[in-house]
Symmetry: C2
Subunit: 196 residues, 2 copies
Amino acid sequence: MARIKADNDLSRKEIITQAAAALFQEKGFKAASMRDLADKVGVEAASLYNHIKSKAELLHNICVNVANNFWNHIHAVENHQGNAIEKIEMLLRFHIREMVNNYQEVYVSDREWKHLTEPYLSNFHTQRREYRKKIAALIEAGIKSGEIRPIDAPTAVLIMLHAVSGIDSWHRSKQKISAEALEENMVTIMINGLRK
Amino acid sequence: MARIKADNDLSRKEIITQAAAALFQEKGFKAASMRDLADKVGVEAASLYNHIKSKAELLHNICVNVANNFWNHIHAVENHQGNAIEKIEMLLRFHIREMVNNYQEVYVSDREWKHLTEPYLSNFHTQRREYRKKIAALIEAGIKSGEIRPIDAPTAVLIMLHAVSGIDSWHRSKQKISAEALEENMVTIMINGLRK
DNA sequence: CCTACCGATCGGTAGG
DNA sequence: CCTACCGATCGGTAGG
């Protein structure tokens, strides 16, 4: 009995979090009200608080989930057997697929994280900086091995990550090319831009 | 006398608009309050309304200024003598420089325009779409002439524009490379990514 | 999960 | 340019 109740609570909370991700993506965190969210879920605003603690908690959960997802993946990339270009392509394809399939959460985590409250804001910021350093290290390795042009690695990271975040425009576009074609086009442009 | 007063009003309004651009960039449009803005300018909130009509007008002015700036430039690019790669490089360098030198306004126009009110929202959206079509046409021309890889032009546009918007991270970074080095690195990666 | 309601803050106005 | 203030809306709570 207790377990079934706990399961129901969990999935209810997940439904609310998913709806919050969609809402924060559409309107932005500050412009999205808890009344908007309640409408989306189909309850009164006050009822949300039986499942969540606060609006801030919703943003926090979204950002932490996304951050951990990318954080886990880059360790797999680092341990992957292969040259630098292969590793970077692996990372790039993961980013593209996450942006395609898990659009709203990834978008919110990327664009709305500055509305996190302390200490989560500082934690997120630090992890983000570490994550980018890891990508820069992959690029540096590729420059040393002669696979990649002698460019500024942090600048290359910034181009890569932001290019991928442009997929939000793809989601909204009228005549979408397929997700596969999008991925191949992005990889072609970015990898050839880096490759010597 | 009347002229001096008019001049003072204009520059006062410009001071407020500049401060608003900085504030909207830092906090986001919705999270930035008119009391915040008044503090930044050094007056009481009510006094702002002797110079501006509304908070919405401030965002509108910022977005229209930026949009017109880019709109005028792309006509110069289209009329420029040269091959497709040269035109695209010219456009890319202009975007990079605007993002470096006119950071706050460009950033706000890029990230906060969805908070515009009608009919400005629709106008902005339409102009933005037309602008991107013009860039896609430049890329298509380069593909036809054999200068550029056979890629999906709208995807290439989206990568280019978003890569440039990543310069906001450069502004905040601790050990900044020079603006010139940033520009050369970006141009190298993007142009070689496109070039056949 | 709802009704009823709270204190805080918002954009903006009146009047001087 | 300021003091004083407004109606609306916000995130969230009490109590059932």
